[in-house]
């Protein structure tokens, strides 16, 4: 019997992959003997998908006080301020979501040997395991490598998982199957010299259709939409290539780099894009380091010129076209051929599932089945059951989706009832896939170091309520999409949902209250064709009522055939804000203490709270009064934006930042005029230079927004500039709230708290 996974699997792992894991394991030893700097090891492990997790700095607020987590390895670290023994997250790349039963079985084994028995699917078709110890990761990687999975470049400043539509190859509206192209680019760029020096991560997606949601190309650093043209009487394949999209704190829509790039050219042109990004992209300020900022800075024309210039001087690489010889290898074969069967009556549950979870393939007699997972989670046993089910009905044709579900492709229609029964036995036959009840959420405060509010807690609560109601909801409400992020970074993709939420907080009544910003009108279709805009923050506990109010009003006010996005535009953000206003109220702690904790987490949300004084709820600080002006201003800017008045929208957004800066100054009883120059100077010296305004992770990024526009206004701003500035203003205001909260917490004695 082998005494290690390394020896047990030595004949099953590609040599280069085995070498990589051995090297990584060796680097772990170097950290312990002090030869390798912790910050270097941190980037190294990130590029192997070994990620930090909440509380890994050895501190955790338990609801009463901050506790030190005294890990046995003492001061040993695996990165700056990251303790060696602290549990972490392992991200596992699944290119284009393609998964085989034997791979799923290994993933299941890893979940119960190294994690907590749960596999989690992410919004980039990856898997994540949580509470993993760094010392277990080399063996974990070897076991994955033995079934053809690498974790290389799953995190860090690298090319992340290349995503693609899960219906690619069986879709009724696609130009052609993009799978082999996504696969080719994945492995061409994996570990490539030209992608090792990025300032930030780089995300790529492939779409077969322009008008469906498909691969969500518009929100990607680099995106491909399939095209065909007839040349000399034959149909040739190519892609429209887009660049510079992204969500995050400042969302950008990708722009067309080149229409119809031939299949022979997509790899070299992608390489050229990467080289330009590596050479000219921001390196020092990570908040401006995504390629979207480079494209914005250079302008599309100049960026394109540089890319094509780079393309001209690229040394030839046979791999650019050699993959084309293997296209046929991606042709999928069904396990069974369809046969015509007359079925009798079936039960209503099956009919409901069939109506919501089954998609008719382009190939007659076959269907795609969506397996909906709550919050993207499944157990070890469910993973094994799904592997068995796949083998029985579809063979290797499993894919993960960016909506945190699975699809099973090539199900012969006569098997659908038996498949349903098998899924049901495995608790995997939840209906309403892709509906309002099938909510997407990032990990948020459950495990993410950046999470502000509990995205999973909220998603779980909304999901449980909607599961009870969805059958009775009107069809136009059933088909809405809800997506939730724990912070402004948009890992839950809230910008592209009909109704999105992202976590933030407000300081009220001497306590910090978890909130969610409501983001409405994002477009999922058209490859994430447009992004929603924030309409106001509401307490976390009020979100279910807000959702009810919004959907009820949409239903009653909607015109025939009107989409939610169109309704939001027509109804107007001003009216929506009025609609939300009653839900923004925060009761006194004594009356409703639950408002001061988050969904699924009974710990009091704030730090450093003390028993509440009399009438605390009625005390309104100068800051609160002043910041309300800033919020009103940015809201008006949104209205101007909606009306196409871009200059006014831009001016209002900048003014709202000035007002928010003034609010902070007034909150500290600084005598200040309304002169912008004076406000900016005072803000800079009192809040920015002192770093009081700094976000823990974003540092001074949000303050820079104000300085930038104060130094030089954008002349004749277009829609893109106005939209971006509004987003920046929202973030600046959020940062002002956070700053005020920190100042208040520091000024409040930390002698007590509420016992759970």
């Amino acid at each position: 019997m082998a005494n290690s996974w390394k020896s047990a699997l030595q004949d099953q792992i590609p040599e280069s992959w085995a070498q990589e894991v051995d090297t990584f394991e060796g680097q772990m030893g170097l950290v312990f003997n002090g030869t390798l700097e912790d910050k270097v090891f941190a980037e190294t492990r990130l590029r192997r998908g070994v990620y930090g997790q909440r509380y890994d700095n050895g501190k955790r607020h338990d609801g009463i006080r901050e506790q030190e987590l005294n890990f046995p390895s003492g001061e040993a670290v695996k990165g700056p301020d990251t303790f060696w023994d602290a549990p972490g997250m392992q991200r596992i790349k699944i290119p284009w979501g393609g998964l085989k039963p034997d791979q799923l079985e290994v993933l299941a084994a890893l979940a119960d040997e190294y994690s907590d028995g749960i596999l989690h699917i992410t919004t980039r078709q990856d898997f994540q395991l949580h509470f993993v110890h760094v010392e277990d990761t080399p063996d974990l990687m070897r076991r994955l490598a033995a079934v053809g999975i690498t974790t290389r470049e799953a995190c860090g400043n690298s090319v992340r998982n290349v995503t693609a539509c899960p219906l690619a190859g069986v879709c009724r509206t696609e130009e052609f199957d993009v799978t082999p192209y996504a696969d080719a680019l994945t492995f061409f760029l994996l570990g490539h010299d030209d992608v090792q020096d990025f300032g930030r991560k780089f995300k790529i997606a492939f779409s077969g259709c322009e008008h469906e949601a498909c691969g969500l190309v518009s929100m990607h650093d680099l995106g491909f939409i399939a095209r065909t043209e007839v040349r000399d009487g034959r149909t040739v394949r190519g892609f429209d290539m887009y660049v510079g999209g992204g969500l995050g704190a400042v969302p950008h829509q990708a722009r067309l780099l080149q229409a119809f790039v031939s299949e022979e050219e997509i790899l070299p042109l992608s390489q050229a894009v990467c080289r330009v990004f590596a050479r000219l992209g921001e390196k020092r300020n990570r908040n401006r380091a995504r390629i979207k900022f480079l494209v914005a800075k250079l302008g599309m024309e100049e960026f394109s010129r540089l890319v094509f210039e780079e393309r001209e001087i690229l040394p030839h690489d046979d791999r650019w076209t050699s993959y084309l010889d293997g296209l046929e290898g991606f042709t999928e074969q069904p396990v069974r051929q369809p046969i015509a069967i007359e079925y009798g009556d079936s039960d209503p549950e099956y009919e409901r599932w069939f109506a919501t979870n089954v998609y008719r393939q382009r190939q007659g007699g076959f269907s795609v089945v969506h397996v909906a997972l709550p919050l993207g989670d499944l157990t070890v046993q469910q993973s094994l059951d799904l592997a068995d089910i796949a083998r029985k009905y579809v063979g290797d044709h499993i894919r993960t989706t960016v909506e945190q579900n699975f699809v099973l492709r090539w199900v012969a229609d006569q098997d659908l009832r038996d498949l349903y029964a098998d899924l049901k036995a495995a608790d995997l036959a939840t209906a309403w896939a892709g509906s309002i009840a099938d909510i997407t959420a990032c990990p948020g405060t459950d495990t993410c170091k950046l999470g502000i509010a509990s995205s999973r807690g909220l998603a779980g609560e909304l999901g449980a309520r909607l599961a009870q109601q969805v059958e009775e909801l009107p069809p136009e409400v059933q088909e809405l999409k809800i997506k939730i992020s724990g912070c402004f970074n948009s890992c839950g993709q809230h910008h592209v949902a009909d109704i999105g939420f992202f976590g933030n907080s407000r300081h009220r009544n001497k306590r910090t209250v978890p909130h969610f910003q409501v983001v409405l009108g994002g477009q999922w279709q058209e490859n994430a064709g447009s992004y929603g805009l924030a309409v106001g923050a509401v307490p976390s506990r009020s979100v279910p009522e807000v959702l009810t109010e919004l959907t009820n009003r949409f239903h009653t006010d909607r015109e025939d055939g009107e989409s939610f996005q169109s309704w939001v535009d027509r109804f107007g953000k001003k009216n929506i804000r009025e609609l939300l206003k009653p839900f923004t109220q925060i009761p006194l702690y004594e009356d409703s203490p639950q408002f001061y904790s988050d969904w699924g987490d009974p710990r009091e949300f704030t730090t450093g709270d003390i028993g509440v004084g009399e009438c605390a709820g009625e005390v309104v600080s100068l800051f609160t009064l002043e910041i309300a002006r800033a919020e009103a201003e940015v809201f008006e800017a949104q209205i101007s934006m909606d009306d196409g008045r871009h200059s006014e929208a831009y001016a209002g957004a900048v003014q709202s930042m000035v007002l928010a800066a003034r609010a902070l100054l007034r909150g500290q009883t600084v005598d200040i005029t309304n002169d912008e120059t004076e406000i900016v100077a005072e803000f800079k010296s009192r809040f920015y230079d002192t770093e009081l305004f700094f976000d823990r992770f974003a540092k001074g990024k949000f303050g820079q927004y104000l300085f930038k526009h104060h130094r030089q206004r954008v002349e004749d701003p277009d829609a893109v500039a106005a939209h971006e500035t509004i987003e920046e203003a929202y973030l600046f205001i959020e940062a002002a709230h956070a700053c005020d909260g920190r100042i208040a917490a520091a000024a409040t004695p930390t002698t007590g708290g509420i016992q759970l």
Binding site: Y55, D62, A109, P374, L384, G457, G460, A464
Partner: protein, 198 residues
């Protein structure tokens, strides 16, 4: 026998009334606040939304515990599960010694849980499963089942004395961790087992 990297005990609960997992979450947070257990506690993971899942889990550095929401593909009710991550301990203890330590720690947590009056949990230490999530050293094979079962008999004789102990398995599946199902004759409670000094 080689040392397993990880061991899990799962006890059945007495009674039919289900434990509300929403109520377990604040209890576990309270345990972290108060240092209720002798092992290092870190966080609470909530998987109650997944059927037949670990439910609500108190995550520790060397030990996890929780109340699940039933076993998959069975009529089993909820259970109390306790995991000891020996890979984190770097000790030289034998398999048998690891079983003893697992038992001691699991009973400590079980007792603490029963003392949470609001939960109404009653744990049956005489009905349990032992899982060995270590496919390298203890693949779920007939040979390994026989070897581990013999060890379990020896260990439980120390705990339950002359009470008859039945050890079986739920069906070999090499993809799963080696799993043994144990039934001890007679009525047992956490208090009675602890009172017996074992």
């Amino acid at each position: 026998m080689e040392q397993p990297q990880r061991l899990i005990l799962r006890f059945e609960l007495h009674g039919d009334a289900p434990v509300n997992l929403d109520d377990v979450i604040p209890v576990f947070h309270g345990w972290i606040q108060n240092g209720r257990l002798s092992t290092m506690l870190i966080d609470v993971a909530d998987y109650k939304h997944v059927e037949a899942s670990p439910g609500v889990v108190l995550i520790g550095h060397t030990d996890d515990c929780g109340i699940d929401n039933g076993l998959p593909r069975t009529e089993s009710g909820q259970g109390f599960h306790y995991t000891r991550k020996h890979a984190r301990l770097a000790d030289e203890a034998s398999f048998l010694e690891r079983l003893r330590q697992l038992w001691t720690n699991a009973l400590e947590a079980a007792e603490a849980l029963e003392q949470e009056a609001g939960l109404g949990v009653s744990i049956n230490p005489g009905r349990l499963q032992l899982m060995v999530p270590d496919r390298l050293r203890y693949a779920f094979t007939e040979a390994n089942v026989q070897a581990v079962a013999a060890l379990v008999q020896e260990w439980l004789a120390e705990v339950f004395g002359s009470a008859a102990v039945t050890v079986s398995h739920p069906g070999i599946d090499e993809r799963l961790p080696l799993t043994l199902t144990v039934a001890v004759a007679g009525e047992h409670s956490v208090a009675s087992v602890q009172a017996s000094g074992n």
